[in-house]
């Protein structure tokens, strides 16, 4: 079941109870404040926290007029203060989609030491498939920035 090449896990202890961390995830205005790094602006279009509910965010780079696609997915599970699972392989209402980056993210909020152990386990398809996002090259500025730099190195 483990697939080290395509799964990543990160965790972080947050000095606040799980309900506060859930609140930062479940209220659109709050999510918009941290989901995408500044100076890129985040717009939370849909945040329907129930199985089959849509999850849509858009991003706008500093100085740009239009918002660009960011995440367009669907929640698979939403247990307040405990667990949130979404995928980009389906969109709202279980509609199958072919996202530019296929992933399923499993987010857990565990009470620990008076705070919250927040963990994200993110499952991807094959490395070859996931490498496609490099070509798309805009994800939060990383693809672009690092792609450009890598291009210069390879010359």
């Amino acid at each position: 079941m483990s697939n080290d090449d395509t799964t990543l896990t990160i965790s972080r202890l947050i000095a606040a109870p799980p309900s506060a961390v859930w609140n930062a995830w479940s209220v659109p205005e709050n999510l918009a404040k941290w989901w995408i790094p500044a100076p890129i602006e985040c717009e939370v279009v849909t945040l329907d926290l129930r199985p089959g509910g849509g999850f849509v965010t858009r991003m706008r780079e500093a100085g740009a007029n239009d918002f660009q696609p960011h995440v367009d997915g669907c929640f698979l599970e939403a247990i307040p203060n405990e667990r949130l699972v979404f995928t980009t392989v389906l969109t709202e209402g279980w509609q199958p989609a072919e996202p530019w980056l296929a992933l399923t993210a499993i987010l857990t909020f565990e009470a620990q030491d008076g705070g919250t152990l927040y963990s994200a386990r993110v499952l991807h398809k094959t490395p070859e498939d996931s490498a496609k996002h490099d070509e798309m090259g805009f994800y939060e500025g990383w693809g672009t920035a690092i792609g450009q730099l890598a291009g210069l190195v390879e010359r």
Partner: protein
């Protein structure tokens, strides 16, 4: 593995800033003295030197002093470490967790219930 991850985190942190990315881009064309590097940026030298020290701390650039001139050069191998797609995704999710923590902690700190 943990150390390797910490090193990657510092590398992505260094690359997260547009000024620092511009410096690295410039250095990929060849080594350059600090004064020349700082010229395109509208910021004071102390602020610019802070950016250089973040870059140097991440191992992305090295600096050498000859007389009064400090010259910077890029470490292409370190930069290559940031290229893998999983490393990039990890940096994105780590960044999100860090920003989430900062946001939640700044919200709850003033009215902390004991």
């Amino acid at each position: 593995m943990v150390n390797q991850q910490a090193a990657l985190d510092s590398l992505f942190h260094a690359l997260a800033d547009p000024t620092r990315r511009a410096v690295v881009s410039r250095l990929l064309k060849g080594a350059a003295p600090v004064k020349q590097l700082s010229a395109p940026f509208e910021m004071g030298l102390p602020a610019f030197l802070k950016h250089l020290s973040v870059l140097e701390g991440s191992g992305l650039i090295h600096t050498e002093k000859h007389g009064r001139v400090r010259t910077c050069r890029v470490d292409a191998e370190r930069l290559a470490a940031a290229e893998g797609w999983l490393s990039q995704q990890r940096a994105i999710w780590q960044g999100r967790a860090d920003r989430l923590a900062d946001f939640v902690e700044s919200q709850t700190a003033p009215e902390q219930k004991s």
